[in-house]
Amino acid sequence: MATRGIALVAATSLLGATLVACGGGDGGGGGKSTTLTYWASNQAPTPQLDEKALAPVLKEFKQQTGITVNLQVIGWPDLQNHIDTAVSSGKGPDIVNIGNTWSASYQATGAFLPFDSAAAGKIGGMGKFVPTTQKAIGAPGKTPTSVPLYGLAYGLFYNKKLFKEAKIAGPPKTWTEFVADAKKLTDPAKKVWGVGLEGGSYTEGVHHAFILGEQNGATLFNGTKPDFTSAQEIKGVKQYVDLMSTDKVANPSDAQNADGTKSPANFAQGKAAMLLWQGNAATNIAQAGMKPSEYGVAPYPQTAGGKNVGTFVAGINMSVFKNTKNQAGALKFVKFMTDPKTQATLNTKFGTLPVNTKAAKDPAFNTPQLQMFINELATRAQPLPQIPEEGIFETTVGNAVKKLIADAAQGKPVGDAQIRSALTAAQQKMEAGG
């Protein structure tokens, strides 16, 4: 019994082992030149809706080229593990979607096809992409191994009815106005709060820490050396955490929201008057029952006297596995997916932004809301650090912010000293590589 117990323990504790133990082999999916395997990320509310949205597009691709695309939609929590397994085993799809912040990390693995001038030529040239989106396709100065597919940008969502009731004329432009408006809108007795936060989500935490840090002039990395504890970064993080601690404009219970759906739902139900979120929140808000006419969108509020940044270059990229047996077909597919027509079809379905400059002019995107986000992505977007260890940056800094929000929710003091110590611990973990 004991030895079996030990073996069981050992096997479960060494989760990672199997990942590497099954290495070797060189087969890519889609061995024939008439098929391609495509791992798509989950953009619609459910993977089934993704399949439904992509089906007509893939059918059209088959009519044009004769190539059948085997589609597999993979949820975000599994996507990196799936890709990592494909990279280590050499057995995987031909084409894959990645979060664009992972670009440099996957570029460094050497498992993906570089878009050098020859490959770029086959997909219609890199010039067709919106310039800011090209900042998030890999480490600067190295040949990128991914190209933009869907664009995203942060913005401010606000409830028109609640604004009218509080006699606020229009959306706030500066951070000071944003906090002042949020205070006017907050009424805990009526269960209405100025702003909804996804406090338990480390990704939301790191995004706001980055945007507000940038606004205050922080530089998180000198080359690849982390510098998380600058006065500017601390000030940025404090602005965000203050929403819950000193400004008291966010429901302390928001510190529990972790899965990326709770605060959009609260916003849709009128429990939070404002929401700082990426543009695709529109699909979640609609699903929770709020009509697009009931809310407005505006740029992410700007810190006075700071650097003009309102979002990071967010979005989804597309990569081709180097060992694909159908490279020509894969590149045809990448070209097809990033051409103006497909871009217009898919981005309108997913609530994302076109990455093709020509597609951005399509009448499909001619609404004030989408134009606002398109403009933010084009003019106020900075890329997250394009370094191979970007994932560790997100978890360490994001978890530090998550912890600070949790402390604030429980009424513990969160000042410069606490923020500095949380960011120092994050930096030590970053330096140790995890």
Partner: protein, 329 residues
């Protein structure tokens, strides 16, 4: 063998087999067959448990990150540096690993302790002539029969701050807290207790099941004799039940300890897919984050090996101590 066949091709196959094969089969049948029948199990055990374990040990000596996933043979040799980082206590990595180790021990002691107590208590009570015994037994085994996901999600809903069942009771029915001071259960210090409660709820039916089975093997006339001699319930438990249950207890506690110490699913699910607060960051979750969220497979393996060593030591010491006591008895 090869040399023999080359010198006399044909003869090696045709001449000797008949007389040689018969005794071999008999011998096999006599002593080897049980072992032969074990071979598939042993091979599978090696493949499923031992090989990945060894691979993990090897990985722990390499700087294996995502960068080297494709050519993992080329990952730079790290020597003991993954272990050094994990055990360096003046650094956030070492400190948080040690803290989560201590947390896992506290979590395990509390969970196993209460699970055993509850299981023992319930089986003692249901050992006597209680009305509706079958009903209670079935009811108590319920948590054990439920799928883990369903039961943990139910607890997650119950622990919500604004609309969870626990706070509904404490805040709105009993008025122990004002609504704006409603306690958090899924973050901060309380999250640890929320996790312990969920764990006990899940694990105690196992203790109950095993101990109940053990108790049914104790002959009833022992109790009769004891009560004739004037022994009360307490005395009967101490002098009859505990010694007779010893072998069952040894196994139950060890198995519960190993399961609980390594439990990954409960904390991972309870706090919403890995968004585990620091106060509930158990070793299993900690290693998962190092390995998969930070894609540092070498460091994660080193931490797993440390965990494995600790559990081996605990198990060995536990078995030695319990065996010696049994010999002494």
């Amino acid at each position: 063998m090869a040399a023999v066949t080359r010198e006399s091709p044909g003869t090696a196959d045709t001449a000797p087999p008949v007389p040689r094969r018969a005794p071999l089969m008999t011998r096999l049948r006599r002593i080897g067959l049980p072992y032969l029948l074990c071979v598939p199990a042993i091979v599978l055990e090696l493949l499923v448990h031992v090989v990945p374990m060894l691979a993990g040990v090897v990985m722990s000596f390499y700087h294996l990150t995502r960068l080297y996933l494709r050519n993992w043979q080329n990952a730079p040799f790290a020597g003991l540096s993954n272990y050094k980082v994990s055990l360096q206590l003046d650094n956030a990595v070492g400190q948080s690993l040690l803290a989560s180790f201590a947390r896992s021990i506290a979590f395990t002691v509390l969970s196993v302790g209460f699970a055993w107590l509850l299981g023992f208590g319930a089986s003692v009570v249901l050992q006597g002539k209680v009305r509706g015994r079958g009903f209670w037994r079935t009811l108590f085994l319920f948590p054990y029969a439920l799928p883990l996901y369903a039961s943990v999600f139910t607890w997650t809903f119950m622990f919500q701050r604004d609309n969870g069942l626990i706070n509904q009771l404490l805040v709105h029915d009993l008025h122990l807290f004002t609504p704006d001071k409603a306690p958090f259960w899924l973050l901060g210090g309380n999250s640890f207790y929320a996790l312990v409660i969920t764990e006990i709820w899940q694990k105690w039916p196992f203790a109950f099941l095993m101990l109940m089975a053990g108790m049914q093997n104790i002959p009833g006339d022992l109790f009769e004799a004891a009560s004739i001699d004037g022994a009360g319930v307490g005395m009967q438990i101490r002098k009859i039940v505990m010694p007779m249950l010893r072998p069952v207890n040894v196994v139950v506690i060890l198995v519960l300890f190993l399961w609980t110490f390594n439990d990954f699913n409960t904390p991972y699910l309870l706090f919403g897919f890995g968004s585990v607060p620091d106060q509930a960051d158990l070793l299993s979750i900690h290693i998962y984050s190092s390995t998969f969220q930070n894609q540092n497979f070498g460091l994660g393996s080193a931490q797993s090996v440390l965990l494995l060593l600790f559990l081996l030591v605990v198990t060995a010491v536990y078995l030695m101590v319990t065996r010696r006591r049994r010999d002494a008895v």
